[in-house]
């Protein structure tokens, strides 16, 4: 009991990188070398990490913001942002659930999120912290027993520099594109996971159980390394709506799978999409890339994207090892004025590599949705295969659904198959459901869930149930 109490006390002091002293610390506005040094300094980073950041910043200065994407957004003034601010103190946060937007509470109720979790999501000081902490610690103990490292990346930089040094930036180099480079220069925190050789991670790793995770800020950095023959399933985000005062989110996620390793990465993203007229809302410009480095390795991305004003991301797989496998399962739902430009890249470099892409897009209201993907089979990737299927569902004639696949086949012994369809929910189907007593909204929820089934099946069990409800909720008000 005493031990537990100690732990809690430790936690209260923001053990992981933050202390009460820096609560009011904020880097000066703008982006320059000094700010980067400031961030690095506050995180007590070693010199090599600072060099990494500065190198990225030097590159960033030369880059131009891309503008080829479909959803346009007002220009972001990168000098007008705070790149570091310590987490909000409990004082600024809502005291209890009554302070929250009733709309939000309603959604929680529909999703069936327990009261304690609702509070936690909104950063309300929960009396019963005790419970969740104890769960977290037992999990930690079990992981440590297996030799799995799972901690904030800032902690990993301190405690496991050899691993971080070796793999950070190995998939998304500091010289990558605009937003990824920005992230490399200024990222504040994120997750780090290392699964040692031959270990099958006994549970789904999730930021949920990583204490202090909600304060990773707008430039999150995740690095997951699966050593030879290991397996890990990682969950990111949650189905509950997330609000954040930062509009721009430019996270980087790097996955490395060595020989015979498998990483399964699932995301459910439900950030604030802006109001009915499309004002506000989060820009989610994330770079996610996985490297199947060893032979027989496998990386699988599953995503359910329902939030954000603009989602712009392409979780990708570089299939470098022979016989490696890449998978991408995606559901993207846009409603009101939301915009999404998402898809994947499958880059086949090794022999006998296989990839599969299943993408389901649903647009309603005034929204716009684009699937953009690349399948590139290089001349050395003999006997490789790709199968792509992207289906779009439209509701109403004010929204758009677009498909822009790039298909490159440079190997005569490899096959690529791609198909895409666009359609709407047929009147017959609706009629049938309604005739059996479902309301129009329920009927649509049911049909859409059927449409998405292939992807929902890929999600871990408990996630899938919530995601299914979320799919229905996201489309509320789109009928009529």
């Amino acid at each position: 009991m005493d031990n537990r109490q100690k732990e809690i006390d430790n936690l209260k002091d923001y053990k992981y990188g933050f202390t009460t002293d820096i609560e009011n610390t904020r880097a000066p506005k703008g982006l320059n070398e000094d700010v980067i040094r400031f961030i690095s300094n506050i995180k007590k980073e070693p010199q090599w990490m600072l060099d990494f950041r500065l190198k990225a910043y030097a590159r960033f200065k030369q880059l131009k913001e891309p503008d080829w994407q479909k959803p346009k957004y007002p220009k972001i003034d990168y000098q007008d942002l705070y790149y570091y601010s310590a987490p909000k103190s409990m004082k600024d946060k809502p005291k209890n659930l009554d302070d929250l937007d009733p709309k939000l509470l309603e959604t929680y109720k529909k999703l069936g999120i327990p009261l304690q979790e609702q509070k936690r999501l909104n950063g309300i000081a929960v009396d019963a912290v005790f419970d969740s902490v104890s769960v977290a610690t037992t999990f930690r103990e079990e992981l440590t027993k297996q030799g799995i490292i799972f901690c904030p990346i800032s902690e990993a930089i301190q405690n496991h520099p050899e691993l971080v040094k070796k793999y950070l930036g190995s998939v998304i180099p500091v010289t990558d594109h605009f937003f990824a480079t920005l992230n490399s220069a200024v990222f504040t925190d994120g997750s780090f996971a290392y699964i040692p050789e031959g270990v099958r991670c006994p549970m789904e790793l999730s930021t949920y159980f990583r204490i202090n995770a909600s304060n990773t800020g707008q430039f999150e950095r995740t690095l997951i390394v699966a050593d030879k023959g290991s397996y890990v399933s990682y969950l990111e985000g949650c189905t509950a709506p997330m609000r954040d005062e930062n509009q721009l989110h430019a996270a980087n996620v790097e996955l490395v799978a060595l020989d015979d390793a498998e990483i399964k990465y699932s995301t459910v993203q439900n950030w604030y999409p802006g109001d009915k007229d499309g004002k506000g809302g989060i820009y989610n410009f994330v770079t996610k890339r996985g490297l199947c480095k060893g032979k027989n390795s496998k990386i699988s991305w599953t995503q359910v994207e329902t939030g954000s004003a603009i989602t712009w991301k392409y979780p990708s797989c570089i299939l470098k090892g022979d016989n490696s496998v890449g998978e991408f399962y995606s559901i993207a739902i846009t409603n009101n004025h939301q915009k999404a430009d998402t898809g994947t890249k499958m880059i086949h470099l090794g022999k006998n590599t296989k990839s599969k892409i299943i993408s389901k897009g649903i647009s309603a209201g005034f929204s716009d949705m684009t699937y953009r993907g690349l399948v590139d089979i290089s001349s050395k990737a003999t006997n490789s295969n790709n199968y792509t299927q992207c289906d779009s569902l439209l509701m109403g004639n004010k929204c758009g659904a677009h498909t822009v696949p790039y298909i490159k086949n440079k190997n005569s012994e490899s096959n690529i198959a791609h198909e895409a369809t666009t359609s709407k929910i047929s009147e017959d189907q609706l009629h049938y459901c309604q005739q059996r007593g479902l309301s129009a909204e329920e009927a649509i929820g049911l049909i859409v869930n059927g449409f998405c089934k292939e992807v929902l099946q890929q999600l871990p069990m408990e996630f899938a149930v919530e995601a299914q409800k979320l799919v229905g909720i996201s489309l509320e008000g789109s009928v009529g």
Partner: protein, 415 residues
């Protein structure tokens, strides 16, 4: 290149009788082209085929002026045998003959439109180049209710008199209500290292039917770009067939605007290329109103280190409910150095539509070969049989039986 352009432009203008205003217009396009230059891979539409590099590598310095004052002798032996047809003959870019012998004279109007008014909904710099340098341009109008009895064959002939030249052609076609036209573009080149830049504009009125067959079959070392703009009114039908095979580089672009209800567009194409050839087809079908239909089928057979690109786009605006759009591309890569790139694109703003696209590329099916060989064919025969069957699918889409047979003979496909 700028001085060369300027000099060649002055030479071109000198041989034309143009009003001051027309010269100004041409100058405007020239300046546009000088500013933009040839398209390169930085432009999305040219991502897979950097024509700037291709011209540099294959031709080097281009000259833009060709002396059109003297006539060229028309070689009648080059005419297509066994099919009665009307003719337009271009030799080295100069119109030598327009001949509608089989048609009623008052039903077809040929209008000299050498003053250039850029009607092209195309902001590529190649359309600027074309507008600045076209020598003569004609409009061919088919009168209301008239259906041409014989097909029209346009012979695009070049011979060894020209070298490193850029040749610009432009033709306008107008098909009035209930009229129909079958048009075959036949490329016959004995020249090397020239760049042909061809722009066609078709205006299809109600109930009219256009069938355009582009046949680039004969081996040559030229670089070609061809752009077809097709505007379609109610109930009109356009059918385009492309055989992309002979040239070193060839890019065919089809931009089709389905403006009237119940109009439909069909684009079918074959890539059959070898060596270092690099061919592209790019289509844009704009469904702009209700109840329109489009269908595209592109098949490729790629040998040696050849490269084929298909970029197809179906656009459906929010008014165009009940659209039916279909697109399929298939490729067989026969050599480890061959390459197939595709970008089948859907851009859809209406919900009551049926749109789909499919794309597949890969090697010949070994099982099928095994099956055929087990029945007594040798490897080579089995391979040919499979490839012919694969391509025949597209040829069979040709709705005109005369032309279908002509093209079958040309490719050597037997039924």
């Amino acid at each position: 290149m700028k001085e060369q352009l300027q000099k060649d432009f002055d030479n071109t203008i000198r041989n034309l009788t143009l009003s001051q205003k027309d010269i100004e217009i041409k100058k405007f396009y020239l300046d546009n082209f000088i500013n933009k230059g040839f398209p390169n891979r930085k432009e999305e539409d040219w991502k897979f085929s950097d024509i700037n590099q291709i011209i540099k590598k294959n031709i080097g310095e281009l000259s833009f002026y060709t002396d059109y004052t003297s006539t060229n002798k028309v070689d009648t032996s080059a005419y297509v045998d066994g099919l009665e047809h009307n003719k337009i003959v271009f030799i080295n870019g100069r119109i030598e003959k327009i001949d509608f012998d089989y048609e009623k004279k008052n039903q077809i109007e040929i209008i000299d439109q050498s003053e250039t008014i850029n009607k092209f909904n195309n902001n590529s710099s190649l359309s600027d180049l074309n507008s600045a340098f076209t020598n003569k341009s004609f409009k061919i109008a088919v009168k209301e209710g008239y259906q041409l009895t014989k097909p029209l064959i346009i012979y695009h002939t070049t011979n060894s008199k020209i070298w490193s030249k850029n040749i610009n052609l432009r033709l306008n076609f107008e098909l009035y209500e209930n009229s129909s036209l079958r048009l075959i573009d036949l490329f016959r080149d004995t020249s090397e290292k020239n760049f042909l830049n061809i722009f066609y504009n078709f205006d299809l009125k109600e109930n009219s039917i256009l069938k355009n067959y582009k046949v680039d079959k004969f081996e040559n070392k030229n670089i070609k770009y061809s752009f077809n703009n097709i505007d379609q009114d109610r109930n009109s039908i356009s059918e385009t067939f492309i055989l992309s095979s002979g040239s070193n580089f060839c890019k065919n672009e089809i931009n089709c605007n389905l403006n009237g209800e119940y109009s439909s567009a069909f684009v079918n194409g074959i890539f059959s290329i070898n060596n270092n050839k690099h061919h592209e087809i790019r289509t844009i079908i704009n469904h702009l109103t209700e109840n329109t239909k489009s269908y595209q089928l592109i098949k490729s057979v790629l040998e040696d280190s050849s490269r084929a690109v298909y970029q197809g786009k179906i656009f459906v605006n929010s008014k165009a409910q009940k659209t039916d759009g279909y697109q399929l591309s298939k490729a067989i890569l026969l050599n480890k150095d061959s390459e197939f790139n595709a970008k089948p694109e859907l851009e859809i703003y209406a919900d009551d539509v049926k749109c789909s696209h499919g794309s597949a590329s890969g090697s010949l099916n070994e099982d099928s070969i095994f099956y055929l060989m087990s029945r007594g064919l040798n490897y080579q025969q089995s391979r040919e049989l499979l490839i012919n069957g694969f391509l025949l699918d597209v040829v069979e889409k040709i709705t005109d039986s005369e032309v279908k047979n002509l093209i079958k003979n040309m490719i050597g496909i037997k039924e």
